[in-house]
Symmetry: C2
Subunit: 388 residues, 2 copies
């Protein structure tokens, strides 16, 4: 049992291997296995109507609230591969189930990488045999976290110690991050003894205010998947509130790590909107600003160009008083009543973290925060030559 | 009478001057005057709820369907300047009206440039006196077109010769281009004898399928304004259809010139969506793809990464059959039935123009095209240091 990551909670083992799917030759396959005694599972998937084959298969298999193992590969998303893609995803699930002595419906599958390329099934099947070979499965959470990286520069793990039970997790994701989760694969594990319903409630509540409010570039992946697996090995059944808190803490920590490692990021920007009729309007407005390229370029340039904030928020689907909008950069007022505040252009935004707060002036108590990044040269560089 | 631009139609004169509003020291003010005998006018303005003072004043003054002169300044948008900004806009209108012996309500006013800086009224008032000085007003359409440029690299004019009557125009705009017009000022002139209603019908129809479908960076300006002024000097009253056609042709030509000169553009990209239930869904889908940063970066890299097109369109507010989506780059199939087509990755996108066509597979006959550009290093460069 590790002190960090997916194998931190009791009842979980993992393995990782290099199957040759990544051109880099780095580890590219991982397996997380729940050894029980319980197997409650919950999941949240991308809302993109163009979703990958592994999403389709995992969605089916988690339907019954039970998942005993999740297979991961990086380097190939197995998305937009039509009938063959689905066939390949099912074949890999059957292979894992057979090697572990489980049913196909006990297996979850996650792929990340290039869209539109068929999986190299020979390599994938050889990798599955390595992941399930004698002695392969163990306290290997960190190795698994490294194996699911794509253009991530660091592996991302988390742990939350509760009262006699634990939540662990790993995640990956760097670009194509948008409202319907980031482009990411996340696997959370816990040794709490909980029902699938408790797990789904905790996971849905947590993702709504963590991964769903992480918006790096407005793009949404075909593969986004978050699993929560519960082994019950601690023998402790927490209250729903305690479970919600622990799962939220784990998701929030991983979301912050995804933001910090986003493609080409030089600034971590939080956009908070207040003064709306409700939280939904606040999040619409925060997302509109967080996605505005002119605003994001200004952040890259450490330019306190608050006019772009007003221009962006003015198009948001939210009620506002166009004469009473206020904007704060790092808590310094730069715009009051929709007009420049003294010294606004002298605000120092040279630091790596920028907090933008916008009050839309309706007097309502709606509030929401969206995490985003700046739009930098390296974002363009990385994303103008990804598939080639 | 010129053969091009706003002074091509009979009855129009213009002037331009350097008032010192632009830091560059280039010409930065212009005046377009309709000498009649008729003064029908129509206008379309930004839909941004945060709109500039000149938009507010121009909207009031065109209410009665009559505008006799339009004042332009570049270098300062007079946006987000609160009460003082509106006072300054009205003062400039009153000054022009007084010098020309007109009523305030006869004057339109347009500003473009940095948001949130007060207009230098001393310079502006001196400029107005120069624009209206003896001999200043004449066949100076091109000089006016140059004076309204901001980061435009070329001045933008157009002319459409109809059957005995003419439509001329000038425009500017390079960034912050989005659905509610581009970030742009456009002034169209015609010597046709038409009612304000005819003018508004022709202008609204034309902008809906030209400037409104130009989406460079998803941002929407606080100052977007398009004027159509009619002098009736030709004595000819065209049919509404003929007027619509000529105004559309003028707007389409200017929209193409705005796209070609967009900030940092290295590729001119058209995104056409077909196979939707109606045109509205097609434009929603085309706009979603045209705004997707990962797609735009791929275009910059001449990368036929059709997977990003599917990932982007999958989030669009449009009905689709996720299994039956087809994508074409420059008329070559790269994705059929949501799966890669043979040779898809070898498509040559090295040219400056890229036509992307997406069929959403519902069998509907909805269709729409959005013009956009790639996302390049220079876009980031230009926009990360605009106000500084």
């Amino acid at each position: 049992m590790a002190d960090y990551g997916v194998t931190a909670p009791q009842g979980f083992v993992a393995s990782a291997t290099t199957a040759g799917i990544k051109v880099s030759g780095n580890p590219d396959m991982a397996l997380v296995v729940n050894q029980g005694p319980e197997f409650s599972a919950a999941a949240v998937f991308t809302r993109n109507r163009v979703f990958a084959a592994p999403v389709k298969v995992s969605r089916e298999n988690v339907e019954d609230g039970q998942i005993k193992a999740v297979l991961f590969n990086a380097g190939n998303a197995n998305a937009c591969n039509g009938v063959q893609g689905e066939k390949d995803a099912r074949e890999s699930v059957t292979h894992v189930a057979k090697n572990l002595g489980l049913q196909d419906s006990d297996i979850g599958v996650c792929s990340t990488g290039l869209i539109g390329e068929l999986l190299p099934m020979d390599k994938l099947n050889a990798g599955i045999d390595q992941l399930t070979a004698d002695g392969a499965l163990g306290d290997n959470g960190t190795a698994a976290a490294k194996a699911i990286m794509t253009t991530d520069t660091v592996d991302k793990e988390t742990v939350v110690f509760a009262d006699g039970w634990t939540v662990g997790g790993m995640g990956k994701g760097v670009g194509m991050m948008a409202p319907s989760l980031a482009t990411m694969l996340v696997c959370l594990t816990t040794d709490a003894s909980i029902t699938p319903e408790m797990a789904q409630t905790a996971l849905s509540n947590a993702t709504a205010v963590t991964f769903d409010t992480l918006d790096i570039d407005g793009s949404t992946s075909t593969n986004d998947t978050v699993f929560l697996l519960a082994s019950g090995a601690s023998g402790i059944t927490p209250s729903q509130d305690d479970l919600n808190d622990a799962v939220y803490a784990a998701c929030s920590d991983l979301a912050a790590k995804l933001q910090a490692d986003a493609e080409g990021v030089t600034k971590r920007v939080s956009v908070t909107v207040t003064g709306t009729a409700n939280n939904e309007q606040a999040i619409n407005a925060a997302r509109t600003v967080a996605r505005d390229n002119l605003f994001k370029c200004a952040m890259f340039g450490s330019d306190p160009n608050w006019g772009r904030v007003l221009a962006a928020v003015g198009m948001a689907d939210a009620d506002m008083d166009p004469e009473k909008i206020s904007v704060f950069f790092n808590d310094q007022a730069v715009c009051l009543d929709s007009t420049g505040a003294p010294g606004a252009r002298e605000v120092d935004l040279s630091g790596a973290d920028i907090a933008v707060r916008i009050d839309l002036g309706t007097g309502g108590d709606g509030e929401a925060t969206v995490r985003t990044t700046d739009l930098s040269h390296s974002y363009v560089e990385i994303n103008s030559a990804y598939s080639t």
